[in-house]
């Protein structure tokens, strides 16, 4: 089936959008009519419980989602994920890189054990981990028990009231030391 609209704009071709002005609209009368701010406005995200960290997640360039943790060559270069903790925060919590901890989210979910990576590369109120680790199937002998799963800790999401997209960076964790 032919596409009603090409995916890419051809070089030099006029860009036409499905708006009343046929242009990109920074001020949208349609949005205003629907009861939204006609100009996108920054809304500060709600903070989490005191003493908790916003859980962020992302990807490592050597693994693809949760499906490459049984590939020996890739596990040789990254065998488990770590939870990034701001270096100053880690010092305050007496944690150092390589220590094992567990993360507990706002709904009581407890993660597998995961190593700390104390780093300046993250802000003090957030922690970060690479997605794809913390497999729970014993049959995945090479991947089982390696690192922790961010998905396990994502028990809440929020819906964008305007365009309906969902965001899951709205979960908060506390750090529990692992003996």
């Amino acid at each position: 089936m032919p596409r009603p609209q090409p995916i890419y704009f051809e070089d030099g071709a006029p860009a036409v959008f499905d708006t009343p002005s046929k242009k990109i609209e920074f001020y949208s009368a349609q949005l205003k009519q629907a009861g939204f701010d006609p100009v996108p406005r920054y809304t500060r995200p709600e903070p989490g419980p005191a003493g908790s960290y916003r859980l962020l997640f992302g990807r490592a360039p050597m693994h693809s989602f949760s499906r490459t943790q049984t590939t020996h060559l890739l596990m040789d270069v990254m065998s488990e994920n770590a939870v990034w903790v701001n270096a100053t925060e880690a010092g305050r919590l007496s944690l150092k890189s390589g220590d094992y901890v567990r993360l507990r989210n706002q709904d009581g979910q407890l993660s597998n054990r995961i190593r700390v990576k104390a780093t300046e590369r993250i802000r003090p109120d957030c922690v970060y981990m690479v997605h794809g680790f913390g497999h729970t199937s014993r049959e995945l002998r090479f991947a089982f028990g390696k690192g922790a799963s961010d998905s396990q800790l994502i028990t809440r999401y929020k819906t964008d009231p305007l365009m309906g997209g969902t965001g899951v960076n709205v979960n908060f964790v506390t750090i529990e030391t692992e003996a």
């Binding site: 360039p61 050597m62 020996h72 060559l73 890739l74 040789d76 270069v77 990254m78 701001n86 270096a87 100053t88 780093t119 300046e120 590369r121 993250i122 802000r123 003090p124």
Partner: protein, 89 residues
């Protein structure tokens, strides 16, 4: 005689380790070992951090210490240049 060198543009390196895996595959390097590696170093404090990623490997030195110290001769300078490992030695 040609003298080959490796040029690595660290400005473009994201630390994906693909060169490490490629080297291991090409040279049959056993699991748990590698002949090149990635160094990630963050300098400064949040939020003015600078990240340096380096892909490091053999520099094929003129006077390679790994050759002079190798007890079996496995680590040697190839007749066409370059420091290589020979399984047969």
């Amino acid at each position: 005689m040609s003298r080959y060198g490796m040029v690595i543009d660290t400005r473009r390196c994201v630390g994906c380790h693909d060169c490490v895996v490629a080297c291991k595959t090409e040279n049959g390097v056993p699991e748990g070992y590698s002949r090149d590696w990635i160094v990630e170093e963050a300098h400064g404090k949040f939020s003015t951090v600078q990240l340096e990623i380096r892909s490091e490997r053999c520099n094929h030195c003129d006077n390679p210490p790994c050759v002079s110290c190798c007890p079996t001769g496995a680590s040697h300078v190839h007749e066409r240049g370059g420091v290589v490992l020979g399984y047969a030695r």
